[in-house]
Symmetry: C2
Subunit: 287 residues, 2 copies
């Protein structure tokens, strides 16, 4: 595996891949890798002849008071894990390399970035859009793999690619979970043992809500109330949002009669966790 | 010359250029070509092995009440002119091809898009940014050539490329003028004979302001007053803006002690014309 830290070196290596006709599959990450990331890397391994992974804790997607400074980092361990997975290129630039000057260009999403996680994290998806566009233009992958855990991010990246015609195919891989259902996340490292024990409440709430829809519940407000109630039954959890929304518009439908996304965010202590599951309600029997 | 109207056909042709190792120089236009455009094409001919020109009257850069509908179009004549220049590929998509759905992604420029032309044309540069990003991702040129006549556009495109790391070099070619000094523009076709006779007042005002700076004037407000006075001396002209600004920040400096842009916009009847010249004030003698 080749580890590169400058844009110029990445472009040179990319040019070599191009000359030798290798397709490139790319997994952008913020590092501190877990099994969820490695599942994305394995998916990429199947999709491209060269696998590129980036590790960059992107300051522009953290708000003031968020955890940019304390976000966990361990490049050495990450590199060893990626080496084992047969990754070809690790691109790990510094903040100065990625943002030598304050960017002028702003990426917006017409309000799709102002709901769910975007409502609690203003500017977050603008930062994600900027860095992903930048990484796509540096790595120029054929395909890029994102995780379903960040469902809103995956949707917005799809729109970015579609609206700006990036020549990149987007793949979204399922959330990887701990045995007790907790979605894997680098931020799980922040949890105290008590918080860790309480954290699976998110997934349990999502599964209960899914079961209700599959059993016939069609009122999204009732589903959201169920989600909220389940999370709030856990004394260590403080709900941020509980949503039952259309998978494209991220708006709550009048009635659940098509695919929806059930999504949750909650604080456990000072750690904010998110989780979601897509649900396809069964077709209703004709009258 | 190959004329292509779909993104899929453009990508296929681009792939052939890539396979055969040809560098691509690109000139995006809105068509109704004049000598100014052809100068950009000749510049591109020197910069790339394959020359691509796009013709697309981009609706997202026109505001309500602007001239999108009546903007002059003549694809047949344009194609003949480009053929003569040895252009390799003309990409001329329909609006439906470029915008099959309403875009969600918004491109902003942190206020650099809200001054000069952006002040009179809200949303204009967001539309320009969107379509240029899209065209860059379709054509994937090595170099793209823009005209100095649209000075603010050229600056914002440079920022777009820099901030999003597009692997494209931007070249800006000098404004081409009619013998009487009027900057070439597709919109000159709108002018009545009387308006056409009055139109060179913009360039005369810019030259007078430049002469004042070269003669020692260092107060940008005095330079702007001079520009304004000259334009307003022409009864058929109605000034939109007269500016003496820093070439990077587009802000009026306290004092002219570095490179500035002199820029004007004025209406002649219902036609809005713009023009500008960059000025490098002479170094002041040491005391």
């Amino acid at each position: 595996m080749e580890t590169l830290s400058t844009i110029a070196a990445a472009r040179r290596r990319r040019e070599a891949d191009r000359r030798e006709g290798r397709t490139v599959a790319f997994v952008p990450t913020m590092g501190f890798l877990h099994e969820g990331h490695l599942a994305l890397v394995r998916r990429a391994r199947k999709l491209g002849e060269a696998v590129w992974v980036s590790i960059f804790v992107n300051p522009t997607q953290f708000g003031p008071g968020e955890d940019f400074e304390r976000y966990p980092r361990d490049l050495e361990r990450d590199a060893a894990l990626l080496e084992v997975e047969g990754v070809d290129v690790l691109f790990a630039p510094t903040v100065e390399e990625m943002y030598p000057t304050k960017p002028v260009v702003q990426v917006g999403f017409s309000g799709l970035d102002a709901v769910l996680c975007g409502a609690s994290r203003p500017g977050h998806f603008a930062g994600v859009g900027l860095v992903v566009a930048r990484l796509f233009n540096i790595v120029e992958p054929h395909v890029a793999v994102f995780g379903q855990k960040d469902a809103q991010q995956a949707l917005l990246i799809r729109r970015l690619v579609e609206d700006l015609s990036f020549p990149v195919r987007i793949e979204v891989a399922p959330t990887v979970r701990e045995p007790d259902g907790l979605a894997m996340s680098s931020r799980n490292a922040y949890l105290s043992p008590e918080e860790r024990a309480a954290a699976p409440v998110l997934y349990r709430a999502l599964r209960a809500a899914r079961a209700a829809i599959l059993a016939g519940e069609r009122d999204p407000l009732a589903v959201e109330a169920l989600l909220r109630g389940r999370v709030e039954s856990e004394p260590l959890a403080r709900l941020d949002y509980a949503a039952c929304v259309d998978r494209q518009s991220l708006k709550r439908p009048e009635r659940i009669d098509g695919p929806v996304l059930l999504a949750l965010a909650a604080h456990l202590g000072s750690t904010r966790l998110i989780d979601n599951i897509p649900v396809d309600p069964p077709l209703e029997a004709s009258p």
